[in-house]
Symmetry: C2
Subunit: 322 residues, 2 copies
C-alpha cells in the first residue's frame, strides 16, 4: 500500500457521458442546473458536452446552448469532447467559456475504432498527424495521449498489455514528430473488461516502459468492477481518474447489454476520502448533485453512496450519543 | 499479490438475505424455484431461510414450506439462519434437509446488538454459554465464530480493529470453556462501513493474533465498496466469502437508507474467475439465477454482470471472427 497517492485528481464527466446516452428530451435548463451543482462540489475539472453530430447523438443537440448558459465558477476547468475538426472549431468558438486542450487518442481495437469513428488504425494515425498541425496552428496545447479499449474489446476480445505499450509508443512518436511533450496517458476501459489484476498488470507494463507521464484511468463500470479497479490503480500509484456523478452515462457505440457509465464519482470520492486520500471534493455536495442527476434523467441511477449515504452524519450522531 | 488464494469458497445467502427484506407476497413456489436454480450453479453452500418470528420478518412466514419443497441436490449444503433456541429447534426438525451447524456470534456494537437481538454484550455472552450446551447436547457441531458490525456501526461509529480482536478472543474463551474447536471466524461488515484499507487492516490484525482459523468475509454493498473489499480480502489471502445472487437482500434491522444486500454473487464470481481464482461456480448459470431472482422479486436488482453480461460469449465471438 506504500504506493498509494496522498491525493488524486478527478475529472467529472457525468454531464457529457450522461446526456449523450439519455433521452434527448431533457430540458437544457436541467442540464445546466446539474453542471452548476457540480461546480459547487469542489471538483476542478468538468467535461460538460461533446461536440458531435446531433443526428447520431440527439442528447447533444443543445450542446452550444448548454455551454452558453452554465454558470462558470472560477478555479473550475470546463471542457468539451470533440473527435474532428468541426467539433474542435465549435469548442474553440467557446474559448471564453471552455478550456480547450487536445489529446492524441489511439484505440487498442481496430474493429471498435472502425465502428466508433469509421477509421482504420493507419487512417487514425494519419488523421492525428493532420489534426495536430491544426491544433498547433490554433495555439491549442496537446500534452495528453489516450488508449481506448485498453483492457479488452467486445469485438476483438482480450487486449494484451504489450499492444497498449506499443500504442503509447506510437503516441510518443506522433508527439515527437510535432515537437510536442506528452505528460499524461489515459488508459480507458471503454467496454468494461478490466479487473483489478489487469489494471495492475497494464499500469505496471506502462510504468516499466514509460516511468515519466502521469497515468489516468477511465474505467467503465459495466461489470461492477469499477471501484475495485480504481483501488487497484491507487495501489499502483495512479492519481488521476475520470468518473461520472451518480454513474451517469455509457457509450452509445459499444452496443453491449447494460452499457454502464463511468465509475461513479461519489462512490470514488467515498473510497478515497475514507482511506485518507484527498480528492478536494465535498462528498455531501457530490451526493446532492447525484440526487439531482437522478431527478434530471428521471430514472434511478447506479450510484451506491447516494443511496446508502455518507458516514459523516452517522459518525457525528455516534459521537454525540457517546 | 502473492497472497491471493487459488480458489475460494462462496456461501450463497441470496434466498435468506433476499426474502427476509422483500415483500411477503412472493409465492413459495418462486422462492423454491430460485433455490433450485442456485443448486445448479455449482455453488456448494446455500443459506435458504431464516427461522425467525414471522411477525417481525413476514417474508419468512413460509420458511418451513420452503425447506420442505426445494429440490435437494447431492453435494450442496443447505442451511438456515437461527438466533435462538426456537429457531434452532425448527432447523433441527429438518435435519434430513438442512445441514445444521451452529456458530458463536458476537457483535462489535452493543447498541446494534441491543436493537437487533435485544441483548447487552454481557447477556449475549451468557446466552451463548447456555446455547452451546444445548448445541452440544443435540450433537450439533460448533466450530465457527463471527463478529457482526466488525468495521463500523451506524449507531456507534468506527469500530477499532483491536475491539474485534478482543471479541474473537472472547469467542475462543467461550469455545474453550466447552471444549470446542473454532476453525473459521467470520467478519461481517453488517452496515457497509468497510473500505479496502480497513479490510486489510482488520484481516491483518486478526491474522497477527490468530494465524490458524480461516477468515470469512461477509460484506454488505451499501456504499458500493463490496467488490473492492472482496479484492482487498483476496490480496490478504482470504478465501471464504458470503454473497447474494443479484445482490438480493439487506438487513431489515439496520434502518439506514438504501440498505443494500451482500456483495453480489455473480459479480464476485466474475471478479475471481477473470483473475484466475476458482470458485467452482458456472458464471452463466449464476447469471441465469440472478435474472430469475429479479423476476421473482419483481423489481430491478443491483447486480452488474447480470446486466453487462459475462465475457465468455464475447471472447468466443471474437475468436471466431479472428
Amino acid at each position: 500500500m506504500s504506493d498509494m497517492p496522498k491525493s488524486i485528481a478527478i475529472k467529472e464527466e457525468g454531464p457529457r457521458e450522461g446526456f449523450q446516452i439519455e433521452s434527448a428530451d431533457i430540458p437544457t435548463a436541467q442540464k445546466v442546473a446539474l453542471i452548476d451543482a457540480l461546480s459547487e462540489t469542489g471538483v476542478k475539472q468538468i467535461q460538460i458536452v461533446s461536440f458531435v453530430n446531433p443526428k447520431k447523438v440527439p442528447g447533444m443537440a443543445d450542446a452550444d446552448e448548454v455551454v452558453r448558459r452554465f454558470n462558470k465558477k472560477p478555479g473550475v476547468e470546463y471542457s468539451a469532447l470533440f473527435f474532428n475538426t468541426q467539433g474542435f472549431e465549435r469548442a474553440l468558438s467557446f474559448a471564453d467559456r471552455l478550456t480547450v486542450k487536445a489529446s492524441l487518442p489511439l484505440c487498442a481495437s481496430e474493429t471498435f475504432l472502425k465502428r466508433n469513428q469509421n477509421r482504420t488504425m493507419k487512417e487514425n494515425i494519419e488523421a492525428l498527424h493532420k489534426q495536430v498541425e491544426i491544433y498547433k496552428a490554433r495555439g491549442v496545447p496537446v500534452n495528453r495521449g489516450s488508449v481506448m479499449a485498453a483492457f479488452g474489446c467486445n469485438f476483438e476480445g482480450e487486449v494484451p498489455p504489450q499492444r497498449v505499450v506499443d500504442l503509447i509508443g506510437q503516441i510518443f512518436e506522433i508527439a515527437a514528430a510535432h515537437a510536442l511533450g506528452i505528460n499524461e496517458i489515459a488508459l480507458a476501459d471503454t467496454m468494461g473488461w478490466a479487473t483489478p489484476l489487469s489494471v495492475k498488470r497494464l499500469v505496471g507494463a506502462v510504468r516499466e516502459r514509460l516511468p515519466a507521464p502521469r497515468i489516468n484511468l477511465h474505467l467503465h463500470d459495466t461489470r461492477g468492477m469499477g471501484i475495485a479497479n480504481v483501488y487497484a490503480g491507487l495501489e499502483m500509484g495512479v492519481d488521476s481518474f475520470d468518473s461520472s456523478v451518480a454513474g451517469l452515462g455509457g457509450c452509445p457505440f459499444a452496443r453491449h447489454r447494460g452499457a454502464a457509465g463511468n465509475v461513479c464519482t461519489e462512490d470514488l470520492v467515498f473510497l478515497c476520502e475514507e482511506m485518507g486520500i484527498e480528492t478536494g471534493i465535498d462528498l455531501e455536495r457530490m451526493i446532492e448533485a447525484a440526487t439531482l442527476a437522478q431527478t434530471v434523467v428521471g430514472h434511478p441511477l447506479l450510484g451506491h453512496v447516494m443511496q446508502g449515504g455518507s458516514l459523516s452524519a452517522l459518525r457525528a450522531k455516534a459521537r454525540s450519543a457517546a
